[in-house]
């Protein structure tokens, strides 16, 4: 049975439910006697709340609660994964467009919506900061009150943190060519097709919380702290999210819903609209300046990188996004001298958070742009200059830290071969190539329990969230392989903190490695128990027995594992329970708290044409090659790589959140904010994996879910320059932006010489 093995692509676990409509997402759960919650917002960015008149709202039949921050415990609880900065409801003023001023709970959705419309909020628009420039201006209004930043020397500015990394001596480095350019990367929104949703209900002397969250155990911890309850009294249900992409990593509006449920004694559900989801999460935008020094052979001598990443009104996990992406800002190269200066800047905008790539595409756009500029200045091929600088397995990228863990130059060569890099370019086309690395998780802790039941079927308990990446399938493949059974005999249990043991997070493409290893170890635990069982049954020493996956090798014969288990468990039956833990400890002296568990390395190459008249870009060929170590499920790897690539084309070609002068999002919702559709795809897209079984995960695997997105924008920008002679350094490359850039370059004579 081929489906037993990893490296195959069996049907997705949960696929049947997804094609029949039976998959139960949070909004599909029927709660008995539930209240419907609805948020009340005001149409401005930063605004002072003058008064809130609830009378009309309270008069709506079926309305049970109309709350403002005055109705909450005082001081109003604040929370967040990195800083305790976000209040349950706006206190005194809104900090960003869409921050809830009040919330309603009612017996029906209609009543909640009607009451929310009838809450009368009198407000006064206040000056806010909606760009990096405004946030850094002298006398700029402060996003976070200085009293909330005790002992913080930056408290009287909008700079939340200043991060510095580096090695060597940039100032002393001598270069033959120096390139200095500035780049910008816009705010974009996650646009998971499932909007965020939350519910809570009293649960005996504790509380049950449902969330579309990626990190249920971190939510459990933060909620326990906020509510003053023991962890064991906070039960988090995390149904499979309908797409997460980082936007659902962390706590959002669960505290409000939980407090409402405790107040009313009834279940409360809050399902956001897509528009409200836009106001719940976004990618960190960035302005990056890079000064790069090259010797005449194209070796990078130094990188001097200054990044301003614009966070929102509350930090969420965005400061970590900045720190982690900046740590590897110099890319997958051997650079002897590096200086990285990164500021996390607060603004009166949607709280920015994790987003697939975790800050890397922003810095990749800039650093890869300078690699191209260096190549042009030196007359070196753009792929060649990368090959000359790339680290390969065992070589440092950040000196003293996790070295390059794959055959990166080979990965680039595979992409070059696939796109036909050295073949003649068809008329009117341009090609581009770019590389990216992202650090995976720096610490980690995953527990798994695997139960081998008396009939040979298997239950796997894993606290990962399957949000489309296919974690259930991978875990079932591992368990089926190790327990010698079929995929159909394995069930993977997730999404309930009272039932499933602890898992730190579902992010950083870590689950195959961290949870996968925990499951593998739990299976090994079972195999060890079976070995002891066989020794007892056969009266032979344990050392003469080998349990290899589903087969027990006795001195005289091989038997299926289930035969030993059945005999060993005897008349009462029962099961064998295995436990596995995979842990990567905190390194207190490490700037990130730990070294990268592995790197995701990816090379993207594209061939495209640009319509001179309209500025429209047509991608004729798009190649993605990642170093996966071992693709445990090739179809899912392709789905992740190609899906990531297309998502990357979104921020490259079309997506950006547009604010007006008052900080209001002008393109709020699906009509005005476009993401790639079936009509926006490359004419041809291919992905491939380099597999050398050199990763830390089961069977030599690494994580894969972000690689295809890391350098899309850089490869496309490179190809646009190749096709048109015009270098564009501000995303997205919308037709209008491209057309204007070409026109401006022609008028100013700054076009590059044609190839």
């Amino acid at each position: 049975m081929t489906e037993l093995k990893v490296g195959m692509s069996p049907h997705r676990v949960g696929g049947f439910e997804r094609v029949t409509g039976a998959q139960e997402y949070l909004a599909d759960i029927a709660f008995s006697d539930a209240l419907y919650a609805k948020l009340v917002t005001i149409p401005c960015g930063r605004g002072r709340i003058v008064s809130v008149d609830k009378r009309a709202a309270l008069a709506v039949p079926g309305v049970r609660l109309v709350w403002t921050s005055d109705d909450l415990p005082q001081p109003v609880p604040r929370y967040g994964p990195q800083y305790q900065d976000r209040p349950v409801l706006a206190v005194g003023e809104t900090k960003f467009h869409g921050e809830p001023v009040a919330a309603v709970a009612a017996d029906t959705k209609d009543a909640a919506e009607e009451a929310a419309r009838l809450v009368k909020v009198e407000y006064e628009e206040l000056p806010g900061v909606y760009s990096v420039e405004q946030a850094l201006a002298t006398g700029a209004p402060l996003v976070r009150e200085p009293e909330l930043r005790p002992d913080d020397e930056l408290a009287h500015s909008n700079v939340l943190t200043l991060r510095q990394f580096g090695w060597g001596d940039v100032d002393a480095a001598e270069a033959d060519v120096v390139i200095e350019e500035s780049y910008s990367f816009p705010m974009i929104t996650h646009f998971a097709i499932e909007p965020h949703a939350f519910a809570a209900a009293p649960d005996d002397d504790g509380i049950a919380i449902w969330s579309t969250i990626q990190h249920p155990y971190l939510l459990q911890r933060l909620m326990a702290k906020l509510l003053g309850m023991p962890l064991a009294k906070v039960r988090v249900y995390a149904p499979d999210p309908g797409g997460g992409f980082g936007g659902k990593q962390n706590i959002k509006l669960e505290p409000l819903v939980a407090l409402m449920a405790l107040e009313t004694g009834r279940p409360v559900r809050l399902v956001l609209t897509l528009d409200e989801s836009f106001q719940a999460s976004r990618r960190v935008s960035a302005e990056v300046s890079v000064r790069s020094g090259f010797d005449r052979d194209g070796h990078v001598v130094f990188q001097d990188i200054r990044s301003d990443y614009m966070l929102g009104a509350y930090a969420d996990i965005a400061e970590r996004v900045v720190a982690k992406s900046q740590y590897t800002a110099a890319g997958p190269y051997k650079v002897p001298n590096v200086r990285i200066t990164a500021r996390s800047i607060l603004s009166n905008t949607t709280p920015a958070c994790a987003f697939r790539g975790f800050g890397t595409p922003q810095i990749n756009w800039a650093v890869e742009g300078n690699m191209d500029a260096g190549a042009r200045a030196l007359g070196i091929d753009r792929a060649e200059i990368r090959l000359r600088n790339l680290a390969t397995r065992g070589e440092d990228v950040v000196p003293g830290d996790t070295p390059a863990d794959g055959l990166w130059p080979e990965t680039v060569k595979a992409a070059m071969e696939a796109i036909g890099w050295d073949t003649p370019l068809p008329a009117g086309r341009g090609r581009g190539i770019a590389v990216g690395i992202k650090s995976s998780a720096t610490t980690g802790l995953s527990y798994s329990t695997v139960r081998l039941l008396v009939d040979g079927s298997v239950l796997v308990f894993a606290g990962t969230s399957d949000m489309g990446q296919g974690a259930r399938t991978i875990f079932a493949q591992i368990a089926a392989t190790e327990m010698g059974t079929t995929m159909g005999s394995v069930s993977v249990v997730m999404g309930d903190t009272a039932v499933v043991p602890y898992d730190q997070q579902t992010s950083a493409s870590r689950s195959t490695v961290f949870m996968g290893n925990a499951i593998l170890r739990a299976c090994r635990d079972i195999q060890a128990q079976v070995q002891a069982m066989a020794a007892r049954l056969e009266s032979v020493p344990e050392r003469q027995i080998v349990v290899d996956r589903g087969v027990v090798s006795l001195p005289d014969r091989d038997v299926p594992i289930i035969d030993i288990v059945r005999a060993g468990l005897g008349k009462l039956g029962g099961e064998i329970i295995g436990n596995g833990v995979y842990r990567k400890e905190v390194q207190p002296d490490h700037p990130l708290g730990g070294s990268p568990a592995f790197y995701e390395f990816n090379c993207t190459a594209v061939e495209l044409s640009v319509d001179d008249e309209t500025g429209h870009i047509t991608i004729h060929d798009h190649v993605i090659v990642g170093d996966t170590g071992k693709s445990l499920n090739p179809a899912q790897v392709a789905g992740q790589d190609e899906g990531a690539a297309i998502m990357g084309l979104g921020h490259t070609l079309m997506e950006h959140m547009i604010l007006d002068e008052g900080g209001r999002i002008r393109n709020l919702g699906a009509i005005d904010y476009r993401i790639p559709t079936s009509m926006d795809l490359p004419l041809h897209m291919r992905s491939a994996a380099i597999e050398n079984e050199d990763g830390p995960g089961p069977y030599g695997s690494k994580g894969v879910s972000e690689g295809g997105l890391l350098s899309v924008q850089s490869a496309v920008g490179s190809a646009v320059a190749d096709a048109t002679g015009v270098v564009i350094r501000q995303l997205p490359l919308t037709p209008e932006h491209v057309w204007r850039s070409i026109r401006d370059a022609r008028q100013s004579g700054s076009k590059l010489p044609s190839r």
Partner: protein
């Protein structure tokens, strides 16, 4: 309270008499009144296609249609595709090609593809892309979805 009307709908072959609020969309009635939650809500402005159902055989964004407008209609939702637990060839094709990732858009994709295949036996790639242009997939499993539709089309014409 809101005005209500009685309507008759045939949903996945089963006739139903429903007392609905006149301002409720077909999407709301299917999910909240009929209890069929396979049809998904996302953008509610007819752009994302997550709520696609068939109304008298035509694919419709159920968020844009009032339930009362569907009075007398024959409605098919994703729950109506399988027959007594047996997946139809299109559903099987979606599994075979790993087209469903997070799965939230998949009911809508399936319904748009069903409408396409009901109209055109062997659609071209361009016709498939156009037919699914109103169904957003943020996981961007578009190539796998196209492959599934092609597989199902081949099965029909074989």
């Amino acid at each position: 309270m809101a005005e209500r009307l009685t309507i008759n709908l045939t949903v996945n072959g089963r006739p139903r008499e429903l007392d609905v609020a006149v301002h409720h969309t077909l999407l709301e009635v299917l999910r909240d009144d009929v209890g069929l939650t396979g049809t998904k809500e996302c953008c509610v402005v007819g752009e994302c296609g997550a709520c696609t159902v068939l109304v008298d055989g035509r694919s419709v964004n159920s968020c844009l249609m009032l339930a009362v407008e569907a009075d007398g209609a024959d409605v098919t939702t994703v729950e109506g595709l399988a027959n007594e637990g047996q997946l139809n060839p299109l559903q099987t094709a979606f599994l075979d090609t790993s087209a469903a990732q997070c799965g939230f858009c998949i009911p809508g994709q399936l319904m748009s593809a069903t409408a396409l295949l009901d109209e055109i036996d062997e659609p071209s790639d361009e016709q498939i892309q156009e037919a699914l242009a109103g169904n957003l997939c943020r996981c961007a499993g578009y190539e796998q979805i196209f492959a599934a539709v092609r597989q199902a089309a081949r099965g029909r014409s074989a």
